[in-house]
């Protein structure tokens, strides 16, 4: 995965390195939107998803949202590091994605608009996973550039496919376990702590930044459009049939 290469450590693990194409996206540094777009363009070939456009769309959505979060909110001089792995040898067929940064962390970011967060990492990651929470302002309408819904939608896509979701920032971590049943997959919670499949920890050693990992169960995605439409309709926004959007 090129970890030691990025760390600048000359290390020979003494094992044969797999050819990456078709299996995994090695650890890749992303510092700009152009870097992010390049990762999204290459991920199809790297994970051999060109023949599975439905899964490819879900993977691209999650990678895009997670990388953009880092570029916009983390204040990380090193940007983000992303890696992904596609598992097809045995079930469940899936893609796992991890994005990490060593930036300011979620609590420091949210505390600007939500002073009640302070340095409370557990409260911060809980708020960050709920829709409509941004570090830029305290209202529930978002800013011109952010709605604060990205982590909620990413978590929901993972859950809607039956996969897991993991978030770690400061001393607090949250994990949404894989769904055990169709019913599990179909129940989304705006507040992650209300989800029975969720676990949370306070670790003595903090991660100085943020780590997010997502599992997409590709075998469960028949139609990405149906999945994302379902996820979007679950977002707890005030809907009105009276609004007439001109689709032509």
């Amino acid at each position: 995965m090129k970890l030691f290469q990025h760390l600048g450590i000359d290390f020979d693990p003494g094992v044969t390195e797999y050819e990456e194409a078709g299996r995994f996206l090695p650890l890749t540094q992303v510092k700009t939107q152009a870097d992010s777009s390049a990762v999204l363009a290459n991920i199809s070939a790297m994970l051999h998803l060109q023949h599975d456009p439905e899964s490819l769309a879900a993977v691209r959505f999650c990678v895009s949202e997670l990388l953009r979060n880092v570029l916009e909110h983390a204040n990380s001089p090193d940007g983000a590091f992303v890696a992904a792995h596609r598992f097809t040898d045995k079930e469940p067929h899936r893609v796992t994605i991890a994005v990490a940064d060593c930036g300011q962390g979620i609590a420091a970011h949210l505390a600007r608009a939500h002073p009640e967060v302070g340095a409370a990492d557990a409260l911060a990651i809980r708020m960050a996973m709920r829709p409509g929470i941004t570090g830029a302002q305290s209202t529930t309408y978002g800013t011109p550039d952010n709605a604060g819904a990205g982590l909620y939608i990413t978590r929901s896509i993972a859950k809607g496919t039956g996969g897991y979701f993991f978030l770690y920032s400061g001393k607090a971590a949250y994990r949404l376990r894989r769904a055990r049943s169709q019913d599990d997959m179909m129940e989304l919670f705006p507040d992650p702590y209300q989800d029975k499949r969720g676990d949370r920890w306070l670790f003595p050693a903090p991660w100085l930044g943020t780590v997010c990992s997502v599992e997409i169960r590709t075998e469960t995605i028949a139609h990405y459009e149906n999945l994302v439409e379902w996820v979007f309709k679950q977002v707890p926004s005030r809907k009105s049939d009276a609004r007439r959007i001109k689709f032509t």
């Binding site: 309408y141 709605a147 979007f232 609004r243 959007i245 689709f247």
Partner: protein, 102 residues
């Protein structure tokens, strides 16, 4: 006069918020400020992130409310793009519903 913008993205996947912001600030907001119409043509796009659509139209909706919907036309939207537009319109005009328990 109507301004038409054809949204473009690599692989038909619209996610570049910088691009969305540029369209918003250079075309959408100035056009709406003159009470003129904007056509956003998604014929090159199959999928869009919610973040992209938010960066594209969220500010127009918050600034002009329902009036923005009268002036903005969404052309050639796939089902996925349409879902993203509907979501952004809903929360931009109505807000998110607060979930309790925090």
């Amino acid at each position: 006069m109507t301004a038409t913008v054809i949204i473009e993205a690599m692989n038909g996947f619209a996610e570049d918020k910088d691009q969305a912001k540029l369209i918003r600030t250079s075309v959408i907001l100035p056009t709406l400020s003159r009470s003129e119409a904007v056509v956003l043509d998604f014929k090159e796009i199959q999928y869009a992130t919610q973040s992209f659509v938010h960066a594209l139209i969220g500010e127009a909706l918050q600034r002009y409310g329902e009036r923005a919907l009268e002036l903005v036309e969404f052309k050639h939207c796939s089902e996925a793009v349409r879902s993203a537009v509907e979501l952004v319109v809903d929360y931009s005009l109505g807000g998110f519903v607060e979930s309790h328990g925090a």
